[in-house]
């Protein structure tokens, strides 16, 4: 087993600890930043699980956020289900969507794989943009947040909502940490390194990839539900390919194949956006320049570079597979 990375725990503790402290003490505007970071972190962790650990580069992952958000909106707003139950249903639907889409897209590979994930997610976006019931491309407001009053938490307070989101992001981090270190995670690593050999060892490769899609789909759907509760608004934008692309960039800039990297990337993306936005409307240009600079200086992402700098091997899920042949 590769040595555990000594950098990851301090960095993650610092970032999440900072976010939690911020959630408790900062003003109303900055609370929205904390919430946005927490939700983005959950989303990009699920992307990284597919991209960095299972080797499945998806360009349509926001589609699963859309599934979660729209399922929650439908079940709680139209069917009148309690939000908690509706959230469970949305996550389950995210997993089912992951299985269906996973079974479909894992039949192709390379660029075609990326294109199919993009196409499927944009089909969802196109449907949502025309769905009158959900306000089509205007979206629909009046969504409720989860009711935790029975345990003394009022999520309608942004502060409480921020704390809960940060805690959920921490849980998501440890959920994926557990997963990638498990025997199942090891099988995914084997598939990523050499699919052909994994199959020759008796591994039903396709099924493992579909399982990875189901897990990542469920978690992204969950992130979509939090996003909906944050804005109390359901809108097709949640599933747009720009969000998928941003998520992928955050993963790559932070360090794909590590869990700490995407967390760093998520914090950086939101903070940089909000800070630069206050100076210029052209924040995207500066964000683009920053990310190009990072990728040039650190091809392994920020975290991969940090790990190399302190002279330790990052706990990466290994390089691209060698050409497999027989």
């Amino acid at each position: 087993m590769p040595a555990r990375d000594p950098l990851s725990l301090p960095i993650v503790a610092l970032l999440f600890g900072g976010a939690l402290a911020a959630a408790l003490f900062v003003d109303a505007y900055r609370l929205t930043i904390v919430i946005e970071i927490a939700i983005l972190v959950i989303f990009v962790l699920s992307i990284d699980f597919l991209v960095g650990y299972a080797g499945l580069v998806t360009f349509g992952h926001a589609g699963f956020m859309g599934v979660g958000a729209y399922a929650l909106a439908y079940a709680s707003h139209f069917l009148g289900w309690p939000v908690g139950l509706a959230m469970l249903a949305g996550v389950a639907l995210g997993a089912v969507a992951g299985i269906v889409i996973g079974a479909l897209v894992t039949r192709v590979s390379g660029v075609f794989f990326i294109m199919v994930t993009l196409a499927v997610s944009m089909m969802f976006w196109a449907w949502a943009s025309k769905a009158r019931k959900f306000g089509a491309d205007d979206g629909l407001g009046g969504m409720k947040r989860l009711d935790l009053k029975s345990i003394g938490i009022d999520l309608n307070s942004d502060r409480a909502f921020a704390v809960v989101c940060v805690v959920l992001a921490v849980l998501a981090y440890f959920f994926f940490l557990c997963l990638v270190r498990s025997s199942f995670g090891q099988a995914l690593k084997a598939i990523k390194q050499n699919e052909n050999r994994a199959r020759a060892q008796g591994c039903p490769v396709q099924r493992y990839k579909v399982a990875a899609f189901a897990i990542a789909g469920a978690v992204a759907a969950f992130a979509g539900e939090l996003h909906l509760q944050n804005t109390k608004f359901v809108h097709p934008e949640v599933a747009h390919w720009i969000r998928s692309g941003e998520g992928l960039i955050v993963v790559i800039v932070g360090g794909a194949g590590t869990l700490t990297g995407p967390v760093i990337g998520g914090f950086l993306f939101v903070l940089f956006h909000r800070i630069v936005e206050s100076f210029t409307v052209h924040w995207q240009i500066w964000m683009g320049l920053l990310f190009v600079a990072i990728v040039l200086a650190a091809p392994d992402g920020i975290y991969g570079r940090l790990s190399t700098l302190v002279g330790r091997k990052p706990a990466r899920a290994a390089p691209r597979p060698e050409a497999a042949d027989a």
């Binding site: 025997s183 084997a190 020759a200 008796g202 039903p204 390089p319």
Partner: protein, 245 residues
């Protein structure tokens, strides 16, 4: 153990496996020889399921596996090594063997417990390292192994699949004479109950290991018999050993 009946495979108009039939008894050691391009590796790919046969049948211990996927054939008891090293380059030797053990036992479906705690997989990996002579390298990254050691790992990975029938595709390809000797010993020391079918170019290895030899040329079975017969057969001497008849 293995029954192959009139197996055919063509790529376009090129017939690469032409009516090949084989019958291998349990515990037997057999070799497939033939000049380059004779269709030996294609035959292995058909047996292991990486290629689908156009016609014919493959039975493993009486069970028809002709239509099974490669991973199902492994569960049915068939494992192979590859002619060109086909390994988990980013893992250590012990890690890749433990991974293979977990894939075989179904431990790899466990997502709630750390792989580091999959004790039986790690014990099995240690035993395999020992048995193929890689114990000293168990914590070496596979890509840092010497070529010869990578060949040994090829065999160890196939053994980790706990096969009843082991297909070895040119185990000594590219090896030095010393490495070839130790590989020869390794093959000779394989458990007797294991059925072994190997492709090999090194005639010393073939005549040392194999109890029966099948000669392929242009996808057809040219001759089949004991090593002594094959050595004497004029047609084999002419076409394969390259001597004037």
């Amino acid at each position: 153990m293995l029954e192959v009946e009139r197996l055919r495979k063509s790529f376009g108009s090129l017939l690469v496996t032409d009516d090949v039939s084989l019958s291998i008894a349990a515990g037997a050691r057999e070799a497939v020889i033939g000049p380059n391009g004779a269709g030996k590796t294609t035959l292995f790919n058909l047996l292991s399921g990486e290629l689908r046969a156009d016609a014919g049948a493959i039975r493993l211990a009486g069970r028809d596996i002709t239509r099974l996927s490669p991973d199902r054939r492994v569960s049915a008891g068939l494992a192979r090594s590859f002619q060109r090293n086909n390994l988990f380059m980013g893992m250590t030797v012990a890690e890749s063997l433990a991974t293979a053990a977990a894939l075989r036992s179904g431990e790899s479906r466990v997502f709630w417990r750390s792989f580091a705690r999959a004790a039986s997989a790690h014990e099995k990996a240690a035993r395999l390292c020992e048995s193929v002579g890689l114990a000293d390298h168990s914590h070496t990254l596979v890509r840092h192994l010497s070529y010869g050691s990578q060949r040994q790992l090829e065999i160890a990975l196939a053994l980790a699949a706990e096969p009843r029938l082991l297909l070895l595709d040119e185990p000594t390809a590219g090896m030095s004479p010393e490495e070839t000797k130790s590989m020869q010993r390794l093959i000779a020391d394989l458990p007797r109950e294991l059925t072994v079918l190997l492709i090999e170019h090194d005639m010393d290895v073939v005549f040392d290991v194999a109890e029966r030899i099948t000669v392929l040329d242009y996808g057809r079975v040219l001759a089949q018999g004991a090593p002594a017969e094959i050595r004497r057969s004029p047609i084999v001497r002419q076409i394969y050993l390259g001597e004037a008849a």
